[in-house]
Symmetry: C2
């Protein structure tokens, strides 16, 4: 095993708390009421369906940033919230400032000493570069769906990263908090590591609480994973 690629939203960053906090700060700044928690959860519910439109060829390639904005505009309309274009852009930009889970920086630094570490994310490149700078993530490379014009779980994304690394899939591990993502990687011959993020979707989360297959590694967090992989 030479390289570990990481899912980012949920696995590396706590997007939900980060968005709710930013909605709250904006609410106070603008002196308006924004149902931050509901907006965050509903916005994320648009995530998979919006990418599926691209995956099924209903619309041409569209970066996540642009899918996010379309979903946001719909959502604000449903809630009867009126914001000017600049403020909508600003809210869309919340996704560029996401806090890492507490174990991430130390875990990645340790894993980087032994393995190539990279993202493997559906986020677009500029968003991911901003997240990495904001959260101080020491990636060796930022692989994202945009480079391959396919969204996960399309095989092109996983195999594209392996091809660019010039490694066979069995020498590349995907680390993710989502069983479906690991399933796609395993089907292509990659190694798999599951890290639970039991509050990614808030206190009521019901999926991905546990490993659903015997993944190659299962650990409580990235620090534990680094200890498991590096003796």
């Amino acid at each position: 095993m030479k390289a570990i690629v990481f899912d980012v939203f949920g696995t590396i960053v706590d997007w939900r708390s980060s968005l709710i906090n930013q909605f709250r700060a904006l609410e106070q700044e603008l002196g308006i009421e924004l149902p931050g928690e509901a907006l965050t959860d509903q916005w994320r519910q648009h995530y998979a369906p919006s990418m599926d439109r691209v995956r099924k060829g209903e619309i041409p390639w569209t970066g996540l940033e642009d899918l996010h904005r379309e979903s946001l505009v719909k959502l604000l309309k449903q809630h009867g919230i009126t914001l000017d274009e600049a403020t909508i852009d600003r809210v869309n930009h919340f996704w560029h400032q996401l806090d890492p889970w507490p174990d991430v920086q130390r875990g990645l630094q340790q894993l980087k000493e032994r393995y190539i570490i990279a993202t493997l994310t559906n986020g677009n490149l500029s968003l991911m570069v901003d997240v990495a700078r904001y959260a101080k993530l020491p990636w060796d490379m930022v692989f994202c769906a945009e480079l391959f014009q396919h969204y996960k779980p399309d095989p092109e994304v996983y195999l594209g990263a392996c091809r660019l690394l010039r490694l066979p899939p069995e020498e590349v591990m995907l680390c993710a908090a989502h069983n479906y993502d690991l399933g796609a990687a395993r089907a292509l011959g990659m190694k798999t590591a599951f890290i639970p993020r039991r509050t990614e979707y808030g206190p009521q989360q019901r999926k991905d609480l546990e490993a659903e297959q015997a993944w190659d590694a299962v650990a409580e967090d990235l620090v534990a994973l680094s200890e498991r992989l590096i003796e």
Copy 2:
């Protein structure tokens, strides 16, 4: 200006001394004679012509790693040197372990505090990731010709990086030790910074000793550039 992208071979790393040193170490290890300096200089002379075959469509897309190996095999034959396949691979891998110029790590760290910093290199991705790990280069992103299936100075490489960064060319600066590279970037509207590397090609170097146009910034090295750009 939001981002600075850097040429790597010559601008960031001293490929010539690094290769010569590695040839010398191999010579001692194997107990054979290798004309390391001549091999290094002649190998690099194949660089532009080999990429031109791709750029002119004479051969399909071929990564630098593979062009390097073809040139090396020819060169060894010319010199009447016989090495086994594993040793040829090992020599080809010299390009993955290149030392940075002494100002690079400090200069990049300083520039990274203010700007997105990325490579913009003809090296293939896995080579560049290895160089970054070896030389401890804190890139936010590794952009390389391979992502765009075009070699510099084809416009696709420069514009591809700007597009992925979601920045107009005038908000992206190319930093390079080579006037031709900066000329290509300027023609596309990018900002330009020249750093002389007067011994890149050894003591007899005759080109790129000075800035040949009024580039947006000219500085002796990356530390000086960071002081120029960040007051």
